[in-house]
């Protein structure tokens, strides 16, 4: 019998067992026997782990005081962190000059927030200021030696301040260097290509610890006495080169994913190589590899702790040094928890921002 529908069927709401809290629970937690058992075991584990940890860290913890005697309860002794906080944040930076560090970090904080938050005006100008002027301002604030600021030698830098300086310079320089290396590796010019390949493969092939040792122990032996460069600077350069090599490979992955037609379309419109890369290829390639870039940044942020083996006192090293204080023996757990939380908050924020960025840059289904 021929079929003919003359009026459209109405849309019905979905069956109630698949919506709402009950539907969600049934579908996700209790959909089968095994699933139910796993849910119950998981709940038991959470129940036996989470409340004690929270009790230790918050409800039973000691917060105020100036000496070890203030810590009488069973919980964490945050007094230890509180008393040492200045050192954890600034290392051995002279106390009278703390404001310089605070100003430098507040400034970059404002600039970065300006650039990251949607709908702030004059992003180009602020970006240019951040890239070209801020590093100079930061250098004089941290190191001094001009404008009446006293010189603070780099061996006095330490704590979170040093960690952040290493991480931000690492990101700031490894990103553009990585892009150049990635473009070089895909270039048709043999010299640019082979130099990029050699650079990338060399730095990827050695562990960061070796790089840092080389920079602090080997390098001074080959360089004449009067040309010695600062230890921190050497470590920084080591980290930057090391991370650039990784960044280059991440970016190259993105470049390879861009269809050849994009390059051809740009070329046939008369765009030059650099304009094609800048306007067409890189924006798409970088967008594709945001997770990889942020991954590299997070790894870099955490890898900065390795500088402690060459005698630089980053956050972790400063905290560990405080454990040796005879007045404060036995508070290493609090110290490590503090360090871990600082790292976790920083890395988690980066990861969330990258997710936000991916969503924002999504411009409809790619064909």
């Amino acid at each position: 019998m021929p079929l003919l529908i003359t009026s459209p069927s109405p849309s019905l709401p979905p069956p109630s067992s698949t919506v709402g809290v009950v539907g969600w629970l049934r579908e996700n937690l209790f959909s089968s026997t095994i699933n139910t058992i796993l849910t119950l075991v998981g709940m038991y584990l959470l129940y036996s782990l989470v409340p004690p940890v929270i009790n230790w860290a918050l409800f039973q913890a000691d917060w105020v005081g100036t000496t070890k005697d203030a810590c009488t309860s069973d919980g964490a002794c945050w007094v230890f962190v509180g008393v040492r906080l200045n050192q954890f944040l600034f290392g051995f930076y002279p106390e009278s000059e703390y404001w310089r560090v605070v100003v430098a970090f507040s400034l970059i904080g404002i600039l970065v927030a300006w650039l990251l938050i949607d709908r702030t005006p004059k992003k180009g100008l602020v970006g240019a200021f951040t890239i070209f002027c801020y590093p100079i301002i930061a250098y004089y604030l941290f190191y001094g030696g001009a404008f009446g600021l006293q010189v603070v030698e780099t061996f006095k830098w330490g704590g979170l301040m040093l960690t952040l300086i290493l991480a931000t310079t690492g990101m700031f320089f490894s990103f553009p260097i990585g892009i150049i290396l990635a473009l070089g590796r895909r270039s048709s010019m043999p010299i640019a290509k082979s130099m990029s390949v050699i650079f990338i493969e060399f730095w990827r092939g050695v562990p960061l610890i070796t790089v840092l040792f080389m920079s602090s122990v080997m390098l001074p032996m080959f360089i004449p006495e009067n040309m010695q460069i600062d230890k921190l600077l050497r470590a920084m350069i080591g980290i930057i080169f090391f991370q650039s090599a990784y960044m280059a490979e991440v970016v190259r992955g993105g470049l390879q994913a861009i269809p050849r037609g994009q390059l051809e379309a740009a070329e046939s419109l008369g765009l030059s190589y650099w304009k094609t890369m800048f306007f067409i290829i890189l924006p798409q390639a970088l967008k594709l590899v945001i997770p990889g870039i942020v991954n590299t940044f997070i790894a870099l942020f955490k890898d900065t702790t390795l500088v402690l083996i060459i005698g630089l006192f980053d956050l972790l090293a400063v905290v560990q040094a405080a454990f040796a204080d005879p007045k404060w023996l036995g508070f290493s757990v609090e110290g490590y928890v503090f360090v871990a939380s600082v790292y976790w908050v920083s890395c988690f924020s980066m990861s969330r921002y990258s997710l936000h960025l991916e969503k924002k840059l999504h411009t409809g289904h790619a064909r």
Binding site: E264, E267, L269, Q284, G364
Partner: protein
């Protein structure tokens, strides 16, 4: 371009000339001794079986591919390794691809303005006005702020045509502009191309759209295995093919 050439040929200006062009991919001889001239305002259709070298041929004209022997002369400039020549020629030739190749991270408007602003150094305002004019002509002005991913295939291809036109080219190359489209979208793209032809644009078009060829073409060239086997005006070509290979090909696509 050139009085001398003008005298030699007809009174018409020669826009594209190929002289004994040969090209190899490794050992594979893909273009064999290709020679022809295209005069200003002429519409040339190139057809032939898959893999015969049609795309390669038109991609050689703006140096997306490099030929190894012979001369390609576009608007009086000989294509050689001189980057300046390549740049000049690319500005003068628009190209439309089978896969549209719009820039997915830019809006339709930005797609159209990019090259006028950064290659021709036009002020943004002017570039946008010109872009709007061409978008209106391909009847897609209302989509100017959308991203390519939000448009249908036919709309994307019309944007691609507008994007090329924004550079004000004197020659347009089309490489199977409708073969990636669903049947109901083919017509909207062909209509735009027919309009363009009626306005006197010099066009080289790889396509198997018979009706389009009959409407606009001055000449149809049939390629097989890297050679131009037969060349004729469209009605003659389709109704009265001379070579066996052409006949075989036409019997397959009709």
């Amino acid at each position: 371009m050139t009085a001398a050439q003008g005298k030699q040929n007809d009174l018409n200006e020669v826009m594209v000339e190929l002289r004994n062009v040969n090209k190899w991919y490794g050992d594979f001889h893909v273009l064999k001794n290709i020679s022809f001239k295209v005069e200003k305002g002429e519409r040339i259709i190139i057809c032939g079986p898959s893999g015969c070298g049609k795309s390669t041929l038109i991609r050689c004209m703006n140096r997306l591919e490099e030929h190894q022997e012979g001369d390609i002369i576009v608007s009086g400039i000989t294509l050689d390794d001189d980057l300046k020549h390549i740049d000049t020629i690319r500005r003068d030739i628009g190209m439309v691809f089978q896969q549209f190749n719009l820039f997915p991270h830019l809006t339709v408007m930005e797609n159209c303005c990019l090259a006028p602003i950064w290659v021709q150094k036009k002020p943004r305002k002017e570039a946008e006005a010109i872009a709007m004019q061409y978008l209106e002509r391909v009847q897609i002005a209302d989509q100017a702020q959308k991203f390519p991913g939000q448009l249908s295939g036919g709309q994307q291809q019309r944007v691609a045509i507008a994007r090329s036109l924004c550079m004000n080219p004197s020659i347009m190359l089309f490489d199977e502009p409708t073969s990636a489209l669903d049947p109901e979208m083919i017509k909207e793209v062909l209509d735009v191309m027919i309009d363009l032809a009626h306005e006197g644009m010099t066009m080289l078009c790889v396509t198997h759209e018979m009706g389009f060829a009959k409407t606009v073409a001055n000449r149809v060239m049939f390629m097989d295995a890297g050679e131009i086997i037969e060349e004729n005006e469209p009605n003659e070509f389709f109704d009265n093919p001379q070579s066996d290979r052409t006949r075989l090909f036409l019997s397959q696509i009709l």
